[in-house]
């Protein structure tokens, strides 16, 4: 019989209780038991959640016992929600609870309940019944992957989540994917997530920026060359397609691919065959191609810069990553993510943004998208002298176009445009997307205010859920 992993999470810290449970469980040779004692009251809850998730992923339990005192009921319910343990059979050992408490626990995914004192006759039948529901290991790995996925793809706005939801589906198949989005939107992060959720996850993920390779070397880099293929080719080179064998090759800025390389790539996508530079031999490779572009490839096809047959081959599954200005509600979420990252990187005790800094983050246009936000937060963490990032630390004005070589008229119109955008966004932010109230505050006619919103393509829905907490 296979060994069953049982994890005992003890928040009660009463040695009598956990000892009596462990004695019962260890009386069966089929159980591999681990006890984890957690000092919840003294710990940072988020660290506890992460540590427990890590523990669950490494131990991969088939069943979890949870022991806790009545005083921790609400904290435990909150913790269960965060842990997503509803996919693992969960038995609670909880003494003196009211029926409402027990029901609340069941609603959070608890499968069974045992009161004290503990008896083997109460415990074993429950374990067998719950284990009969089948193997949970695959489900647990899935929980872990979902956790990682949410850590990589940060955002809650619908326009973003619409694309994120496609990832598990497209990861399962092997079709070519074309990721479209402005510079800095996170196209590579999407591509990598698809790779790690796919059957190819344990094989190479090779990211290549086609725009960074000189035109005359792209073919060589992608398909490799034979020794003596050209002057200076003193040894053969396998190329990126071969390097990515069985894995995924991510071709960023695919629009930069010259015509000759486009032909070769098309042939590869059709037959999985290619010929290294200077070789007479045809090679085969099993590689998934994920391409990305920050330009409208359809336009490039129309202009004759990009082969239409290659475009259709690559664009089997399109993913459109929205620019950050279309998901303003995610700015603060992302900013906090980068804040924790850079606080660790630079070993600084920076924990939050001031209200003014948040307002600035939300009123800015983010032409450089998530990457620009990341750099802005990085710089702010470096410059900050306090534990709270101030508006001045962000110094976003540095990103504005320099005045050099711009006519007075052009500059004036840019500044007016920027002023209008910032002004409207700030008002919508304050009035949570209510146009009538924002127009009244601006002492403008509602219709004229609405026209300004349309002119600057501001989505009022982005402001509906944002609470400033001023």
């Amino acid at each position: 019989m296979m060994e069953t992993n049982i994890l005992v999470l003890d928040f009660e810290l009463n040695p009598d209780v956990n000892k009596s449970l462990l004695d019962i469980l260890e009386s069966s040779k089929n159980f591999n038991v681990q006890l984890q004692q957690i000092y919840l009251q003294d710990s940072d809850k988020s660290s506890v959640v992460e540590s427990l998730l890590s523990k669950i992923a490494s131990f991969n339990p088939n069943l979890v016992f949870l022991i806790f005192p009545k005083s921790l009921l609400h904290q435990i319910i909150g913790l269960l929600q965060k842990l997503g343990l509803n996919k693992v059979p969960l038995i609670v050992i909880y003494d003196g609870g009211e029926i409402e408490d027990i029901l609340a626990l069941f609603k959070k995914g608890v499968n069974d309940y045992i009161s004290l004192p503990l008896h083997a006759i109460d415990i074993f039948p429950r374990i067998w019944r719950l284990l009969e529901t089948g193997s949970n290991k695959a489900q647990l790995s899935q929980i872990r992957v979902e956790q990682l996925c949410s850590k990589q793809l940060i955002g809650e706005s619908e326009v973003f989540l619409d694309e994120v939801r496609k990832i598990p589906m497209v990861a399962r198949c092997d079709a070519s994917i074309l990721v479209m989005g402005e510079t800095g939107t996170g196209k590579e992060v999407f591509a990598r997530t698809i790779h790690y959720l796919s059957q190819r996850a344990s094989k190479p993920f090779i990211p290549v920026n086609c725009g960074a390779i000189p035109l005359d070397l792209i073919e060589n880099e992608l398909f490799g060359h034979e020794r003596g293929a050209y002057t200076g080719a003193s040894s053969s080179y396998i190329g990126l397609i071969r390097e990515a064998e069985a894995g995924t090759l991510f071709l960023d800025e695919i629009n930069c691919l010259p015509t000759t390389a486009q032909v070769k790539l098309l042939r590869f996508l059709q037959n999985r065959e290619y010929r290294p530079v200077g070789s007479t031999k045809t090679c085969k490779a099993d590689v998934r191609i994920i391409a990305a572009t920050n330009e409208d490839l359809k336009q490039a096809v129309k202009k004759g810069d990009f082969r239409h047959d290659l475009y259709y081959r690559l664009n089997v599954i399109p993913l459109h990553i929205p620019p950050l200005r279309y998901r303003l509600g995610d700015v603060i979420l992302l900013a906090h993510h980068f804040l924790s990252k850079f606080a660790v990187d630079f070993n600084k005790d920076v924990k939050a943004f001031s209200s003014n800094a948040i307002q600035l983050l939300l009123s800015y246009d983010w032409p450089g998208n998530v990457r620009e936000l990341e750099h802005a937060v990085e710089r702010a963490v470096v410059l900050s002298t306090q534990s709270v990032i101030q508006k001045t630390d962000l110094s976003l004005s540095d990103f504005e176009t320099p005045v050099r070589q711009v006519s007075f008229r052009e500059m004036k119109s840019r500044i007016i445009e920027q002023f209008e955008k910032t002004y409207i966004r700030e008002l919508l932010l304050v009035y949570q997307g209510n146009i009538t109230k924002a127009a009244q505050a601006a002492q403008k006619d509602r219709r004229a205010f609405w026209q300004l919103i349309r002119k600057h393509q501001i989505d009022k829905e982005n402001f509906r859920s944002i609470k400033l907490g001023l």
Partner: protein, 98 residues
């Protein structure tokens, strides 16, 4: 039986990062990725944030010690396991795992 308690201490020790990378490669010997991918997916940053500079330092050290191979193409720098060291790493990880 294992008995432990949750520790919230940051595991930013270079040796721990190196072991995590080697453990990943022991389980997925054909894996290859750039620093970003290694940080996000091999080190499973859902647990904790590691210092980027520390991760880079570990990758460079493991490459210098010939444990990892650096694949430097134009516009791409990726790391993979040196296949000649696979058995050695496997044995090492077996010894240190309790």
């Amino acid at each position: 039986m294992f008995r432990g308690s949750i520790s919230c201490v940051e595991e930013t020790n270079s040796e721990i990062i190196a072991l995590k990378i080697l453990d990943y490669l022991n389980q997925h010997p054909d894996a290859q990725d750039s620093t970003e991918g290694i940080t996000a997916w091999w080190l499973r940053q859902v647990d904790i944030n590691y210092q980027s500079s520390r991760i880079n330092e570990v990758l460079k050290t493991l490459t210098a010690k010939d444990v990892l191979q650096e694949q430097r193409q134009m516009g791409s720098l990726t790391y993979k396991l040196n296949p000649d060291r696979r058995d050695e790493i496997s044995s090492l990880l077996e010894i240190i795992k309790f």
